[in-house]
Amino acid sequence: MNHLSLIIKREYLTKVKNKSFIVMTILSPVIMIALIAVIAYLTNLNNEKVRTISVLDESGLVKEIFQNTAQTHYDVLDNVSLAVAKEIVSSTSNYGLLHIEKINSLNEVSKHIKFYSEESPSLSVISDLERKLEKKLTHLKLKEAGLNVAQIKASKVRINIGQENFTGQESSKIDSVIKLVFGCAAGYLLFMFIIIYGNMIMRSVIEEKTSRIIEVIISSVKPVQLMLGKIIGTSLAGITQFVIWVVFGGVLMTIVSLVLGINLMEATPQQEVVAMATQGSDAMFYFESFKQALNHMPLINLIVAFVFFFIGGYLLYSSLYAAIGAAVDNETDTQQFMLPILMPLILAVYIGIFTVIEDPHGTVSTVFSYIPLTSPVVMLMRIPFGVPIWQQLLALLILIGSFMFTVWFAAKIYRVGILMYGKKPSYKELIKWLKY
């Protein structure tokens, strides 16, 4: 035990004191926040620019829908030909020219609307215009057909089917989306953690081999101890880094948003925010649903499961990374062994995103939430939707069992591999090592 804590301490301290580690720890949130700030700033800049769009409505049907807004001004042209209108627009700095031909049939008008501009227009401008025109022309067509538009509008119904399971737990579709977001965040976090810090473990095993210190060390400690010490020490360094990222990132974010006066969290295009605000009832509706969803989520279960599956999954993969590090001499040789590790991990994320959203308790999701290499990610994504405790325990049991197996397996490879120099082993040789 004493040896183990010594090794953990050394691994942790050398990682944390490492210059590139410190630089990365400080720089990553700075870069991230700087990026967000720049994007937010540019978005704001974009939104503040006023666009003027010239409109030539020869049909005279839709003129009145072009009301100036904060971002877009409309310059309605009258009694000019298309050619003249084009010249006018190109001589001014207007954004473009919307041309509606003079045709009597409403059906035909809709097919003969064009937008002229110097450069290809932005998608949002075009879809905004399309929406406006569609609404107006539909309106006109309804009128033409002799229908009462007001009545039609009034009879529109908005539905969000309330869901409730037999034990009386309520949920809704929005619930599901929020749950999925939570599940994906947890699964993705684990995925990132495994890739970043698994690699770190592998590199530190390789470092011990290339610096030839390994034989000195294992004449004092058991290889398994050394391996576990490395895994735990590196993980602690990883957690430290993660915590610093979150705290430092949060602080930076607050400072930047205060200094620049930009609300980073709401860096969404402003018109949507405005739209949300005008439809106050809708915003309230979403907010309520969000609160409800949080209440409906098995939060304690989620947190406990997150801790256990995170640790289990991470240890499982990191022992494999350690074994790879022990089997090879340098990082370039690791490629052939990396693929079989990355495959199940990527598979887990895809299954999580594509099948869990479709049917969180379907056969595919259930099966993959038991298989140890995919279970941490898939199960974490399923849990917000409510997974029976016995299923979670079973999956955890399988995970722990296979973790012990991989540690045994990795320790075997490790024990032999760390003393092998100068040759890149094949899979066949690795299997032979198990028998030594």
Partner: protein, 309 residues
């Protein structure tokens, strides 16, 4: 004299390859024991078994009369042939870490490190990183780390590689000093001159089998061929050589001499005695040089390995 280390019928295979085949060895307490053998003979495997890095397939190893177990880790100091240190770690931190892994407390380790660093005059390296030191300097630190915990048994695998002659001598003296203070040393090397200089006992391993073992002196006695190297001053050398060739089996010898001697190796049969040879030669010529040919460790090594293959 009792044995510190007893290796009993140890075998070890890696897959189909047999690295050690029923090897038994006894390392007497307080001796410097040379473990010799060509590359790939199985020396490193044996050393790793003694260090409990690998487990033997069969056989048992006793240290101080007790079968090897985890508590023996602190009794052994091992300087492997493939050796190195953490490149980006500071010398002092690293030495402390390695000493603590061997079971020393931090304060004790610090005290002993100070003693050794002062003794080898490397005290001002404490805060340097290994990558800033030369290879020879790093080797010195490695040596200190190996002996720091005062182990009963020291195992050196090619200890002098990477040292300049001055430092090699320094390390050699330290090894002798440690032996005089009660440590037992196993010494694995290809450099036969250091075997001659240092080793009391040797064992020779070739192709997974132990071929010879024992006191170096006894082995030399065993391998001597009753041959004498002589330098004779005579008026007619050709005639003298013919006379000698008639009576003994002779071959020409090569040694440094101030005179223009007839230099010969004269091999006696089992029942002939050196005094008789001297008496005979004394009658024929003036004897400038008379020495028994003692087989060197090098000769024994080459002869044994070649006979074995």
């Amino acid at each position: 004299m009792s044995n510190l280390l007893e290796v009993n019928q140890v075998s070890k295979s890696f897959g189909d390859y047999k690295a050690l085949n029923n090897v038994s060895l006894n390392v007497p307490k307080g001796s410097i024991f040379g473990l010799l053998g060509p590359n790939g003979a199985g020396k490193t495997t044996l050393i790793r078994i003694i260090n409990q890095i690998t487990m033997p397939d069969a056989g048992i190893v006793h240290l101080d009369g007790v079968p090897l177990n985890a508590s023996h880790i602190k009794d052994i100091g091992y300087l492997p042939e493939e050796r190195g240190l953490y490149k980006s770690m500071k010398v002092g931190e690293q030495a402390l870490y390695l000493a603590q892994l061997k079971g020393l407390s931090k304060t004790e380790a610090k005290k002993r490190l100070k003693y050794w660093f002062d003794r080898l005059e490397i005290g001002d390296w404490w805060n340097k990183k290994i990558q800033e030191l030369s290879k020879g300097m790093a080797q010195k630190i490695q040596f200190v780390v190996t002996v720091l915990h005062n182990p009963k048994l020291l195992i050196f695998d090619e200890p002098f590689s990477g040292f300049d002659p001055i430092n090699a001598n320094l390390i050699k003296d330290e090894i002798l000093n440690l032996r005089d203070n009660g440590a037992t040393v196993i010494f694995s090397t290809h450099r036969m001159e250091s075997v001659e200089e240092l080793c009391d006992d040797i064992a020779l391993i070739n192709k997974s089998n132990k071929l010879i073992e024992g006191k170096l002196i006894d082995i030399k006695r065993q391998y001597k061929t009753n041959t004498f190297e002589v330098g004779l001053e005579a008026e007619n050398k050709e005639k003298l050589q013919a006379v000698l060739a008639d009576k003994f089996s002779i071959s020409s010898a090569n040694f440094k001499s101030l005179n223009n001697d007839l230099k010969l190796n004269i091999k006696l049969s089992e029942n002939e005695k050196a005094q008789d040879l001297i008496a005979f030669l004394n009658n024929q010529a003036y004897i400038n040089h008379f020495v028994e040919v003692i087989p060197s460790a090098n000769d024994i090594f080459i002869q044994t390995v070649q006979n074995n293959s």
